[in-house]
């Protein structure tokens, strides 16, 4: 079971093509292991990216140093996954009874 403790999902708003290109390059950096949920396509469209905990600092520094605005939409992915798993367990118990 892969754990996502401390992973965050960031919503990024790139404002020009240069920033979009930079975001695209990030995906090729395999060490970061980022996972685009909504891909960087064109300025103005939101970009969602799941960033593993170990890459958070690097990614945020890169965004801030290039003045690319972002917000945190999911603070800890694992917390949501735990909730999801719990809901499924509850549902199964109900079915058995």
């Amino acid at each position: 079971q892969k754990l996502f403790v401390g992973d965050q999902v960031l919503r990024i708003r790139a404002s020009n093509e240069e920033q979009i290109a930079l975001l695209r390059e990030l995906e090729e950096l395999e060490d970061l292991q980022i996972d685009y949920w909504l891909r960087p396509i064109q300025p103005g469209l939101p970009v969602d990216v799941r960033v593993p905990f170990h890459s958070l600092q690097a990614v945020k520094v890169l965004l801030e140093s290039n003045t690319i605005p972002y917000t945190i939409t999911i603070d800890d992915v694992q917390e949501l996954l735990d909730e999801e798993k719990e809901a499924m367990m509850v549902s199964r118990k109900f079915e058995r009874s």
């Binding site: 079971q1 892969k2 996502f4 999902v9 919503r11 995906e27 090729e28 395999e30 996972d35 685009y36 949920w37 909504l38 891909r39 396509i41 064109q42 469209l45 939101p46 969602d48 799941r50 939409t73 999911i74 992915v77 949501l80 996954l81 909730e83 999801e84 809901a87 499924m88 509850v90 549902s91 109900f94 079915e95």
Partner: protein
């Protein structure tokens, strides 16, 4: 199937078992077809809803081609059940099924789906091995023979939009291609994804408008308006390339290029608060509103034979 909870997420075993129950409880309407097997040898099942006749015009619907988009498989289960329970009660659906067959593949990427339950909840692709790479899997929605390999996909096996070594390299894709082409009378193909609340149609691999652009656009407008009536959920719509991005090798471009005029892709809820981790409490509202849009499309297919 009375014990099945439509308001929670389920494993592939639970969904396959529920499908068997649906068939058993509706033998005159629903049957199960195996169209192939996945890379890891799981069966690829399609539910066929038919009231009889030989090689009737057909509507194809698939959910779950991107395995982590759990709301789509859950919506698929709810929708298949809705078709079975509403036939004979809902006049419009009954009229559809009296002239058209519906084929429904709920778990289109079973290996990926099983992997999201066992190992990595965020898995999107298939699970096939890529020669020369330690990264596994191909994006099955970049693997179709429609602009295959273009810049709206990736040649890097470690990237989520990896297009694969050649068109239809993935058995999950090839099985649909073979089934649809051998059927020969599929008039609509609806591929359901999440998230971002959009209804899209060809093309994704080129900017040129599809020959049927106006009709597809008008129908999309009607469908998203119907969808919004239930819970006020706002959808955008248009051709893939104009609405979100250039995407090469995608399902609905292949189907359109192979003569299936009514080719649509949904992106279900939400717009980013939860993404792929949509709470189970939103399954039924999502499925209910999607049903209204699906009905608009299916009614149009019924009333506009070609």
């Amino acid at each position: 199937s009375n014990n099945f909870s439509f308001s929670s997420y389920h494993t592939i075993e639970e969904i396959y078992s529920w499908m068997d129950n649906l068939v058993a409880e509706n033998p005159d309407l629903v049957s199960k077809i195996q169209i192939g097997q996945s890379y890891e040898k799981r069966p690829l099942y399609v539910l066929k809803f038919s009231t009889g006749g030989v090689n009737r015009p057909a509507i194809w619907i698939d959910t779950g081609i991107h395995s982590r988009e759990w709301i789509t498989q859950a919506t698929g289960v709810w929708t298949a059940n809705k078709i079975a329970t509403e036939y004979g009660k809902d006049a419009s659906l009954t009229a559809i099924l009296d002239t058209v067959d519906i084929f429904f593949e709920i778990v289109t990427n079973p290996d990926g789906f099983a992997y999201t339950h066992s190992t990595n909840r965020m898995w999107r692709k298939t699970r096939s091995i890529n020669a020369g790479s330690s990264c596994r899997g191909v994006d099955p929605n970049r693997n179709w023979d429609a602009g295959f390999g273009g810049p709206g996909s990736s040649s890097n096996p470690c990237v989520e939009t990896y297009h694969g070594p050649y068109p239809h390299s993935e058995s999950e894709v090839k099985s649909i291609v073979d089934f649809v082409l051998s059927h020969g009378n599929v008039k609509a193909l609806i591929s359901i994804h999440s998230y971002s609340q959009m209804l899209l149609f060809p093309y994704g691999y080129k900017t040129e408008p599809a020959p049927d652009h106006q009709e597809l656009n008008d129908l999309a407008r009607e469908a998203v308006a119907a969808l919004a009536e239930l819970h006020g959920t706002k959808y955008t719509y248009g051709s893939t390339i104009d609405t979100i991005y250039r995407a090469d090798g995608i399902t609905v471009d292949w189907s359109y290029d192979n003569g299936i005029k009514y080719s649509y892709t949904f992106e279900l809820r939400d717009t980013g608060r939860y993404g792929f981790l949509l709470p189970a409490s939103q399954i039924i509202p999502t499925a209910e509103e999607t049903w209204l849009a699906l009905m608009k499309i299916m009614e149009h297919v019924r009333d506009n034979p070609y």
